[in-house]
């Protein structure tokens, strides 16, 4: 019997945020668009800047740079529109990026427990080790709001 050692290549989109590169599974990408007007209105969800209009759809804009780089982006070249999974359905979320995006095929090493929740895995490309992002934990949603609320209540419950 021979053991197959075939690599499981998957497609990823490499994106640039400031000086760093990250990857997102190509299956989770809807499109890459030029920056357009962000419509802002009052809300209380951190990281959400507002919404853009894209082909009649209203798409929330979520700046993930603060979480990934520790600082906000001062410039942006594109919005990468990703597909965010919710329990019942999927929705588009626009993520501002600072440079060109690139489609690559690579093998992903799965994340381990000690990795941050936003890390889906790792891949090696051009001599760099690149984080593959987990969009569902990186962008806000009802499940995160519930977790945050539970976190806020816990110290009160203990006192």
């Amino acid at each position: 019997m021979t053991v197959s050692t075939e690599l499981e290549l998957q497609s990823f989109v490499l994106l640039r945020l400031g000086e760093r590169r990250f990857a997102i599974s190509a299956k989770e990408i809807a499109e890459l668009v030029a920056p357009s007007r962000v419509f802002r209105f009052p809300h209380r969800t951190p990281k959400l800047e507002g919404v853009i209009l894209r082909r009649g759809r209203i798409v929330p804009v979520c700046d993930v740079s603060e979480m990934l780089l520790g600082k906000r982006l001062t410039s942006r070249r594109f919005y990468l529109i990703v597909v965010r999974n919710y329990e019942a359905h999927k929705e588009w979320v626009a993520i501002p990026v600072t440079g060109e995006c690139e489609l690559i095929n690579a093998e992903m090493t799965a994340a381990v427990e000690s990795d941050a929740p936003h890390v889906a895995g790792w891949l090696s490309h051009d001599g760099d080790v690149i984080e593959v992002l987990n969009i569902d934990t990186l962008t806000p949603g009802p499940e995160r709001a519930l977790a945050e609320a539970a976190g806020r209540q816990r110290p009160e419950a203990q006192s």
């Binding site: 209105f41 009052p42 209380r44 969800t45 009649g56 209203i58 929330p60 806000p140 009802p142």
Partner: protein, 177 residues
Amino acid sequence: MRLAAPAKTTPARTEQIVLFRVSGQLFAISSASVQEVRSADSMSGAATEISAPGLRKVRHVLRRGDRSLFIVNGAMHFGLHAAEGAQLFVLRQTRTALLIDGIEKMTTMSRLQALPLSFCHEERQWYRGLTALDQTVVPVVHPEGFLSPEELALLDAALLQADKLASEDPEGTSCAQ
């Protein structure tokens, strides 16, 4: 042979809305939800002060027979820069009178898009959804979203307390008046 009936074209369902501004920000509300529009000045004599702990957005109440209408400062509700509201919307089937800068215009919306699930905090109570009008996006407010049941309970308690004080100290009340 019977021919298939031509497909009926159902007209797009539209809804009449009022566009208004609070602290410069544009919002929309269904015109069916607005019972009255008053100038804030015209109400100043009729409103009495109220203070509920931790609820700074309501400072005045309007008494209408047995009914009390709480005047909600729209700017404070949405966390916008404080602005002197010039007009009041008395909202139908609620106990809210909303203080706003002014009305922009009346128009119709043909599509209300649900608020994206990424918006996952208080704004889900504030808005029915978003609508695209003239290449701009406007949040459509929920008339019931300005005062939660908990906030209404706080305000009712404050009102009861104020009434009790007034009945115990009628002289003080007359001085205030």
